[in-house]
């Protein structure tokens, strides 16, 4: 085995030497080819040799150094080996053999034309041909690409070439060189075969597959056929005109397919450009130009261009003459004031579209100009410039014109029998309704020229019938249009929407920066300038306490009517705020304080309003409820180390409900946190006089009933109710002063 390897290596080295010899001097080709062929196709030869041989054959018949005559002579000796190699299964070998066959086919064809009796050679060639054609659809991709080229060669050979004797290229091989009554070559059969093969190639543009290598390879093979073979050029051009790779690829969002679409489109455009240039006087030139325009337009619509645009890409579109004139006209419109249309044609209502309604220019090209093609900045610039320079009279005339049209439409609509009118205004989610309404309001910029329509022109409204427009305008006195009213959301929908919104808000809030150094902003914090966490909490708590109550009442009424459960928006917000605070009460105590203060304040306001006006039923007081809830929430987690936070919390709250005091009492009885509880009581006694008596009642009760905490309770009582513990009463003021 190893010996064999070495032998093969030696042989390849020898062959390579021979190759460099012919590369240096082509006159050695015949001798070397003769010597090599038997070695390659010998039944005993190894695959490496066959690989090498196939490559060498392909190279030989592609070499520009050999004349066609020389190649033809050589070709006659190679047919057998080629046939043998075609039975190989390796893509690399097949590719080379087919490439070689493509070069040889015209040579053999010419030979047969002149040597009418050499049936053997032609049969060999036909065998090679049918073998290769059988691989056109079934071979590996590389093989198929080689086959396409082979097929293109066959079509070139088997169709008639230029009939004008002045244009005939002597070296060209085509049906034209076949003598009449040739014993072997049947012109009609050959031509029919060529047409059949062409159809097979062109089929690829219709089957909608995106086999990019095959398609581009065929595209690149077609120009030679269009240019050289008048008989089939029409057919090919028609297929190319109908082909739009972008339409196929636009369906896909896959990156690869978009890249392929871009490449296919560009290849097609290059080929059309080449053909347009080659036949600038020809009958197809305009048709080709149109297709190029279409492609450019389709490309810009689907924006398959990669984002990074390049100035050279722009120059490519500069050749776009149609586009240019459009821009030019647009510019003209900028500087020449458009006179108001002399007579306004009102189209029959069933044919009226928003487009015709607002089109004031008589220039067909201008009104067909699709403004949405303009880049948004350019459109904005044009609109702004127009708004600044617009002539007041022209504007008024234009508005009057549109108004008059509308009035005519309304009048026409009134005449339409009721039965033929569409059903009640449809509830349409589509934004389309919105666009014309905006355009129709008198405040909108004047519909003076195409540029103005930038504001509201969109593809969709071109075809949009104005039936519903007539409906609404007929009802209203002025020509101004009302939007179709959306149905009210059901309470359930409101609830769902609200919940979603809140979830998002809190998600955002938790990711926001904590406000840095806390500055006492005073009233400033109520009007948040920086959208940090605190500001959002302020907004939310205000929403829950005041902002939403009116809306809630309405929806609540609907819900009760329908016997549905409805949790008011404000209570939803409260619930979320509560959960937010519970999420980390130590750092979010500030939020709790500001929220609960808002609640307290609101409760007071409600009570006040109810007292002043008997019609108003005060909303359910919320402060005590939520205060107790927050306390219940945090009590299980309070530790002695939370002293500062907890005391501050108590101090900043406007009122302490009895339930909370009960909670604190619970703390006092917890041996672990007893200190904290008494500290809180002491603090309340000292700084919150309104609850002092209640607190002291509790402490007294503790002193009486619980021996564990007797000492702690006593300390407090000594200070505030000394008579209980059997001491002489003090002046209350003295106690307070002592503390301060």
């Amino acid at each position: 085995m190893a010996e064999g390897d070495v032998a093969v290596k030696d042989k390849i080295a020898q062959l390579n030497q021979a190759r460099s010899l012919v590369l240096q001097d082509s006159k050695f080709y015949p001798d070397i080819l003769k010597g090599i062929l038997p070695v390659i196709v010998a039944p005993s030869s190894v695959i490496e040799l066959r690989r090498w041989g196939a490559e060498f054959l392909a190279e030989t018949f592609s070499s520009p150094l050999l004349t066609a005559q020389k190649k033809q002579e050589l070709a006659l000796t190679c047919l057998g080996p080629l046939m043998t190699l075609l039975n190989e299964l390796e893509t690399g070998i097949l590719k080379n053999v087919i490439q070689c066959s493509s070069s040889i086919y015209p040579l053999i064809f010419r030979y047969i034309c002149h040597n009418k009796t050499d049936v053997g050679i032609w049969q060999q060639m036909v065998a090679i041909k049918s073998k290769i054609l059988s691989m056109l659809d079934t071979g590996a991709e590389g093989v198929r690409l080689a086959c396409i080229k082979f097929v293109q060669r066959i079509i070139l050979v088997q169709t008639p070439g230029a009939s004008d004797p002045r244009l005939v290229d002597k070296s060209e091989v085509s049906l034209t060189i076949v003598p009449l009554n040739h014993p072997i070559l049947n012109i009609h059969a050959l031509e029919a075969e060529a047409h059949g093969l062409l159809d097979r190639l062109l089929n690829v543009f219709q089957d909608g597959k995106l086999d990019a290598p095959i398609i581009t390879a065929i595209l690149n093979s077609l120009p030679a056929l269009v240019k050289g073979r008048a008989a089939i050029s029409n057919k090919i051009l028609n297929v190319l005109m109908a082909y739009n790779p972008i339409a196929i690829a636009a369906k896909s969002t896959v990156f690869k397919e978009r890249f392929i679409a871009r490449s296919l489109e560009k290849t097609l455009r290059m080929i059309l450009t080449h053909l347009a240039r080659a036949s600038s006087q020809g009958p197809h030139a305009t048709k080709i130009q149109q297709q190029i325009q279409r492609l450019l337009q389709a490309k810009s619509e689907f924006s398959i261009e990669v984002p990074k645009s390049n100035k050279r890409v722009m120059t490519a579109s500069d050749t776009d003459s149609v586009k240019r004139t459009k821009y030019a006209r647009n510019d003209e419109a900028e500087y020449t004031p458009t006179p108001p249309p002399p007579a306004i044609q009102v189209h029959p209502s069933n044919g009226t579209t928003y487009k015709t309604l607002f089109t004031l220019t008589g220039d067909q090209a201008l009104s067909n100009f699709d403004v949405s093609q303009l880049p948004i900045d350019m459109a904005a610039q044009i609109t702004l410039a127009t708004m600044f320079s617009v002539n007041q009279e022209a504007l008024e005339a234009s508005v009057a014109a549109v108004r008059q049209r509308l009035a005519t439409l309304v009048a026409a609509a009134a005449k339409i029998p009721a039965a033929s009118q569409p059903q009640a205004p449809q509830l349409d989610d589509d934004d389309d309704d919105y666009i014309p309404a905006e355009g129709g309001s008198t405040a909108a910029p004047p519909p003076r020229a195409g540029a103005d329509r930038v504001v509201y022109s969109e593809d969709s409204d071109d075809s949009y019938e104005v039936k519903d427009l007539i409906q609404t305008t007929a009802e209203s006195k002025a020509a101004a249009m009302d939007l179709v009213k959306m149905p009210d959301l059901s309470p359930v929908q409101v609830q769902e929407a609200c919940e979603g919104t809140l979830d998002r808000m809190f998600e955002t809030i938790t990711t926001l920066d904590k406000p840095g150094k806390k500055e006492r902003a005073g009233f400033g914090r109520l009007a948040p300038a920086s959208w940090d966490r605190d500001s959002w909490i302020t907004v939310l708590s205000r929403l829950s306490t005041r902002g939403l109550s009116g809306i809630d009442a309405d929806i609540q009424a609907v819900a009760t009517e329908n016997r549905m459960h409805y949790e008011t928006l404000s209570s939803q917000i409260r619930q979320k705020l509560y959960l937010y605070i519970m999420g980390d009460f130590r750092t979010r105590m500030d939020a709790a304080v500001s929220w609960l203060n808002e609640e307290w304040y609101n409760d007071k306001l409600q009570a006040l309003a109810a007292r002043q006006d008997e019609d108003i039923t005060p909303l359910e007081p919320q402060y005590a409820k939520w205060m107790a809830k927050v306390m219940d929430g945090i009590f299980p987690y309070l530790e002695t180390t939370d002293r500062n936070i907890f005391l501050r919390f108590l101090s900043e709250l406007p009122a302490i409900p009895a339930a909370v005091l009960g909670n604190i009492r619970g703390l006092c009885l917890d041996p672990e946190r007893s200190n904290l509880g008494f500290l809180a009581f002491q603090y309340l006694c000292m700084l919150k006089p309104p609850v002092r008596q209640e607190v002291l009642d509790i402490v007294e009760e503790l002193w009486h009933n619980h021996n564990d905490v007797k000492n702690s309770a006593r300390k407090l009582l000594v200070k505030f109710r000394p008579h209980i513990v059997g001491l002489p009463a003090k002046e209350p003021a003295a106690g307070a002063a002592g503390v301060s």
Binding site: S20, L23, Q24, I47, A58, E59, S62, S63, P64, L65, L89, E90, T91, G92, K95, Q99, S102, S103, G139, A140, E141, G142, V143, L145, A146, K149, F150, R153, A212, P213, T216, A217, L219, N220, S221, P223, A224, F255, K256, F259, I260, R262, S263, K266, T267, M270, I271, T273, H274, V306, K308, N310, R312, V313, T315, A316
Partner: protein, 282 residues
């Protein structure tokens, strides 16, 4: 008036700066290019189944940067320009230095520009670019003048003293992949291939990698092209090995079929180098 004596007249740069750029003794004097550090093909030819060709407008900056990078990595590569002439920046925008393709060597341009204004052409990077290029091949070549299939330099023994080309040439004069560096050049190449009418019947992938024409972008683009060449070559080798394994069965795909997929993958990694491709024939 007599305020210190200076050896250089006012306006001229100080002596130590001038010393960095000694004026050539005569314009004709040609220093032979220093032996370059650009290795030729490394490893056996089986490691490089695909041959490459890089193309830009002038065959100076982008295609030569890519040529160098590919050469250094051992790829067989040649390069061309598609412009009508070699245009290099001159003292002002309306006075470019124009040279003929093929005729004027990089070395001539280097010598001439150096003699003309050594500071200007050092500052704008032309001299270092030309110096690099003259170590890669003799002269800029025009794509349209390329006779495809005409054997090119045949290994080191073919090189004469006068015409030193240092990177490995492609003996057969045919390549498998053409990489252009600008959409305009891709257009020119694709159009030229159609005009030639593909006499060789040989498949070639024409790929455009859009690179701006400056030194920095050329370096970035060169790296991108190298990566692309490596990806294509790896796929080609993989397919060949598969073919060898399944010796008695069709291998269902070949590197040709995988080119779009490889390019798409590459493009995702290099979104700033827009890519375009077509399969054409020589």
């Amino acid at each position: 008036m007599s305020k210190g004596r200076s050896t250089t007249p006012p306006g001229d740069p100080p002596a130590e700066v001038l010393a960095l750029y000694p004026p050539p003794k005569s314009i004709k004097a040609r220093t032979p290019p220093i032996l370059p550090g650009i290795p030729g093909r490394q490893g056996p030819p089986e490691d490089f189944p695909l041959k490459f060709c890089t193309v830009c407008a002038n065959n100076q900056n982008r295609s030569m940067e890519a040529h160098l990078v590919l050469s250094q990595a051992g790829f067989p590569v040649i390069s061309f320009g598609t412009g009508s002439a070699v245009r290099l920046p001159g003292p002002s925008i309306d006075k470019p230095n124009i040279y003929a393709f093929n005729a004027t060597s990089y070395d001539d341009m280097y010598t001439e520009l150096k003699a003309r204004d050594v500071r200007l052409y050092t500052a704008n990077g032309l001299l270092s670019m030309l110096d690099r290029n003259r170590k890669i091949k003799r002269s800029p070549e025009r794509w349209q003048d390329w006779q495809v299939g005409l054997p090119r330099g045949n290994g080191p023994h073919e090189r004469t003293e006068a015409e030193k080309t240092y990177s490995d040439e492609i003996e057969s004069g045919v390549v498998d992949v053409v990489i252009t560096c600008e959409e305009r050049c891709w257009d020119a190449v694709v159009d030229d291939l159609i005009t030639r009418g593909s006499p060789l019947n040989r498949l070639v992938h024409v790929i455009n990698v859009d690179i701006k024409d400056n030194h920095e972008e050329a370096a970035v683009g060169g790296k991108g092209i190298l990566e692309l060449a490596q990806m294509l070559t790896a796929a080609a080798k993989e397919e060949r090995e598969k073919a060898a394994d399944e010796a008695r069965d069709f291998d269902r795909s070949s590197v040709d079929g995988r080119v779009p997929e490889i390019l798409a993958e590459w493009q995702e990694r290099h979104p700033t180098l827009p890519v375009l491709w077509t399969a054409s024939y020589f």
